[in-house]
């Protein structure tokens, strides 16, 4: 106290700092360098992963490569691909079908998801928790497999349902049509869309709605003026995500579109790189790829403008309470019946038909003769073919390495983005977000082009698929890790530093243990997405890198539906198991953060 009392009031009296004090050798240089090195490292890798293929894509779009690889001696610079693409009337019909397919399936999926979200979150629908599980469960089934099931059920020749419908009603439903594709795609998109929407409905604070009601708003007005506007970011986010999803994937258009001669952009690109006869035209597919890129990028940019990047890592506060449930009254059981019907159609029946097909030697629909032919031969014999064993091996190698590489790299990227205060993090943010905007089929064709030309020995191996999938999933991984890190208060890291922990130990002792659950969940999620993904293994397929999904397509395409069914069931069992391993909310958070 005395020292203070003797001092002048004005503490700003500035005595020069004595110079003779022991000066500690500063560690800042190393720390800054550590952070900078990390930032530079992740930027370079991202640039290579994302930028490299894109450069190839743009480049080859301007190369005439009908007779050889782009950038090779046979190829010349040209605008011909563009004149071919934009000059052909077929392009516009393909574009039209792509939009019709994507927008209609999105609309159907949205309506179904919204209805179920509201019913399950806000009403007294019976068995709500069970319904929740049953609606989400099909997320474990890849769209390829769903498409195969529906082809078995509704194909015009021997579809099982058609076999029942035709004698009674006198008409058949042809699933090999735009309408068929739309419904199968929509059913496939419901689980994730539903999860996203219920998530936002659940995390919404009921007080906000009560406040509106207490201000004199009717139930309907509350829904219109409060609930829906509050959900808008989630609805838009889910919508855009699913839109890109349905534009980019080949599953449904391959299985259901090709037989019915319905072509969309993704299958057009696939056909140009994998023609039934003749040489692939990579230049032309590059041009189509650019086309598709623009189609996917447009809505994403619009979304980013509308929502802004602020909400991207928004954390949901736990202090919400569940609003009153709405009494459905006498509609309670009829609506429940409808919901059960939906579950039957979207999940149970497609699974049952696969089981049936898998115990048939040759698939001929359901009839008395087939009943007597039931056999488990396929289940036992299929393992003896070498291709199944190597496909399972490849699938595991692919899934595990993609999951670990993606998540480890995403953790680094996300940490730099979230924690750094540099002015340049937006570049990283953008780079890591890009793959989300690049349709999978475009990533496929770009990676293909890149490694056809680069003298790296990955073309034709499983590792080219690994690289492509890491590129595809890095945006998902970064969003996941970004929200996990953002939810881990920075003071926890500050506190470690203030307790004397250097950066490395702050990571090992504080940050990593805290985000371990999110990291683990992310690995499972990426592993599952990797397994379910057909587009990339197919785009990059060769004799040695067949995985489960491409093998199923292969068997189906060769007219071996029973083998495809066995493999599909095996794969469904694996993915559904993983889906249940995902901790509650894991999928939701993953989806919410894309």
């Amino acid at each position: 106290m005395t020292a203070l009392q003797e001092r002048e009031d004005d503490v700003r009296a500035t005595a020069p700092m004595p110079r003779h004090f022991q000066v500690m050798h500063s560690m800042i240089a190393r720390r800054v360098r550590g952070r900078t090195v990390l930032a530079v490292f992740v930027s370079v890798v991202l640039l290579y992963l994302v930028g490299g293929p894109l450069v190839m894509l743009f480049g080859s779009a301007f190369q005439h490569s009908e007779f050889g690889l782009p950038f090779s001696s046979q190829s010349v610079w040209t605008f011909r691909n563009f004149t071919t693409v934009f000059g052909a009337g077929q392009t516009y019909s393909v574009l039209g079908s792509t939009l019709e397919f994507a927008l209609c399936s999105l609309a159907v999926a949205m309506v179904i998801s919204l209805a179920f979200s509201w019913l399950i979150e806000r009403t007294n629908l019976p068995f709500r928790n069970l319904m929740f599980v049953l609606i989400v469960a099909p997320s474990g089934i890849p769209l390829l497999i769903t498409s195969i099931s529906w082809s078995l059920l509704l194909n015009p020749t021997n579809g099982v349902i058609n076999g029942v419908l035709h004698p009674i009603l006198g008409f058949k439903i042809n699933v090999y049509s735009m309408l068929g594709m739309i419904f199968v795609q929509a059913f496939g998109m419901v689980p994730l869309t539903f999860l996203l929407i219920t998530g936002s409905l659940r995390s919404m604070n009921g007080v906000l709605e009560d406040a509106a009601e207490a201000s004199g708003a009717s139930r309907w007005t509350v829904l219109r003026k409060i609930t829906i506007p509050l959900m808008t970011p989630a609805l838009l986010g889910a919508g855009i995500y699913e839109f890109v999803n349905s534009v980019e994937n080949v599953d449904v258009p391959l299985v259901l579109g090709l037989p019915g001669h319905v072509h969309v952009l993704s299958t057009t690109i696939y056909n140009n790189t994998h023609p039934a006869t003749g040489l692939p035209d990579y230049g032309l597919s590059g041009t189509y790829g650019m086309f598709l890129l623009v189609l996917a990028l447009g809505p994403l940019i619009a979304y980013d403008r509308a929502i802004g990047s602020r909400g991207k890592y928004a954390t949901i506060t736990g202090r919400t309470y569940r609003p009153r449930t709405v009494d459905l009254g006498r509609w309670r059981w009829p609506i429940f019946g409808g919901a059960v019907g939906y579950v039957l159609v979207s999940f149970i029946i497609p699974l049952l038909i696969l089981v049936w097909a898998s115990i048939q030697p040759v698939y001929t629909g359901i009839n008395r003769a087939a009943w007597h032919r039931i056999t488990f031969h396929q289940w036992t014999s299929i393992w003896s073919t070498g291709s199944v064993g190597s496909a399972i091996r490849n699938t595991l190698v692919l899934g595990v390495s993609v999951a670990l590489l993606t998540m480890a790299f995403s953790l680094l990227v996300a940490w730099v983005i979230v924690r750094s205060r540099s002015r340049f993090t937006w570049v990283l943010d953008l780079l890591s977000f890009m793959p989300h905007a690049i349709p999978g089929v475009v990533i496929g064709v770009s990676v293909l082009l890149l490694y056809l030309l680069l003298p790296l020995p990955v073309y034709g191996t499983i590792w080219i698929v690994v690289i492509a999938q890491v590129t595809l999933f890095v945006s998902l991984g970064t969003r996941l890790m970004g929200s996990a890190i953002a939810q881990t208060q920075v003071v926890l890291e500050d506190a470690a530093a203030a307790s004397g922990a250097p950066m490395r130990r702050t990571w090992t002792r504080v940050l990593i243990p805290l985000i371990r659950p999110a990291f683990f969940n992310g690995c499972l999620l990426v592993f599952m997405a990797s397994m379910q993904n057909l587009t990339l293994p197919l785009m990059l397929a060769s004799a040695n890198n067949t995985v489960m999904s491409s093998l199923i397509w292969d068997r189906w395409n060769y007219g071996l539906p029973t083998q495809a069914a066995v493999l599909s069931l095996v794969m469904t069992a694996i993915t559904v198991t993983i889906a249940t391993l995902l901790r509650g909310g894991g999928t939701h958070r993953a989806a919410a953060s894309v």
């Binding site: 020292a3 700092m17 540099s422 002015r423 500050d494 530093a497």
Partner: protein, 376 residues
């Protein structure tokens, strides 16, 4: 006594702040050994930034900081946080939820040691610290199973366990509820005195600042506007800003009409006084703050609500005004009245035993000694 902390000409501007004024602009102060030093100010005044510069969580644009014998920040040197001999308590505790209470407190010890510490060694240090905080029975609890007050004490234990030279407290009490805050305030004071650790405390709460500190620096817009002992700041603020910040205040605009020079006539000693014309009458002020005033100056008077004395009968003293009681709020230990004198309204705090009814006329006395004047 050497200063345990020296800060010289600290400047810091956040990146992306554009044309905004710097978060910290030219701040200098010394904190002598064993003192409890408080940076007090409204949010955004730069107090937390200053503290984060002390901790090394923020690298200032320029300036020098010395902790003990070590220059931690200068033009050429910057010692990162984990190399500084500090303990820090954060606003929202920042206890690690994945560790037990024991592990949280042991963490700084493990970091300080080059080798792997044996359990017995750790316990020797951790357990007394937990005992000091009254938490020894909670050592096996997960940190996220603690109440707010317990988390705060844990956070304090963790900050103190490696016996740092300097304790940094960043609004440590603001997340607690009022009753707990009052108790933790006492506990903080006790522990700080008991260990004699040099402490820098950041707060926006004047009660915490006044009750805990040896010395307070009031900050505004990135600068220290006044520093002093708590009593000085409370009774002799130099600006309206400080006067308002450290306690409730009535501010009355006025003009100096005359200055009475000090007289010394036997037993009646009269200090120098300023006679100030206000909206409700002439007020005589004898506070030291009138030294620099001259006749004709516009000024404002600061009178604390508890300085005003209410009388039922007119006493024969200076500055007595007839007032009307407009409102009374009984807050337990006092009644906070709003009174009007003419057109002016003043807040007055009256001991709870004395009751004035609404509409009642009473005489308000503004003691000349408790009437701070700010020239303009």
């Amino acid at each position: 006594m050497p200063a345990a902390i020296q800060v010289r000409n600290l400047h810091h501007r956040y990146r992306g702040a554009g044309d905004h004024p710097p978060a910290v602009g030219d701040v200098s102060f010394d904190v002598p050994e064993n003192q409890f030093f408080t940076l007090l100010g409204p949010s955004g005044c730069g107090k937390t930034t200053t503290l984060r510069c002390l901790a090394g969580l923020e690298r200032p644009d320029s300036g020098e900081i010395r902790l003990g014998d070590v220059v931690v920040v200068s033009d050429r040197h910057f010692v990162p946080t984990h190399k500084r001999d500090i303990g820090m308590v954060f606003q929202d505790y920042a206890v690690w939820p994945h560790m037990t209470v024991f592990e949280n407190v042991a963490f700084p010890l493990r970091m300080a040691s080059r080798r792997r510490m044996r359990m017995a060694e750790l316990r020797d240090k951790v357990i007394p610290m937990l005992e000091l905080m009254g938490m020894e029975r909670l050592e096996k609890r997960r940190a996220n199973q603690l109440s707010g007050g317990q988390q705060q004490r844990l956070s304090l234990a963790r900050a103190l366990v490696r016996e740092p030279q300097v304790l940094l407290l960043d609004e440590p009490l603001s997340s607690l509820d009022a009753r707990l805050r009052a108790r933790m305030r006492g506990e903080l004071r006790r522990v700080q005195r008991q260990l004699g650790i040099t402490t820098v405390f950041v707060t926006h709460d004047q009660v915490e600042a006044l009750s805990l500190s040896n010395w307070i620096a009031v900050m505004n817009d990135g600068e220290i506007v006044q520093a002093g002992r708590p009593r000085d700041l409370y009774f002799h603020p130099k600006t309206e800003f400080v006067g308002n910040l450290v306690g409730a205040a009535n501010l009355i605009p006025g003009q100096v009409v005359s200055i009475e020079e000090p007289t010394d006539e036997g037993d009646s000693v009269a200090p120098r006084a300023a006679i100030i014309e206000t909206a409700f009458g002439v007020v005589k002020c004898c506070d030291v703050s009138i030294e620099e005033l001259s006749v004709g100056d516009a000024c404002s008077l600061l009178v604390r609500p508890e300085s005003i004395v209410m009388h039922r009968e007119r006493p024969e003293r200076d500055n007595i005004f007839l007032s009307k009681v407009e409102m009374g709020l009984f807050v337990g230990d006092a009644v906070e009245h709003e009174i009007s004198i003419g057109e002016s309204t003043l807040n007055v705090s009256v001991p709870a035993q004395i009751r004035f009814r609404r509409g009642e006329k009473a005489f308000a006395e503004i003691p000349p000694l408790n009437c701070v004047v700010f020239g303009q």
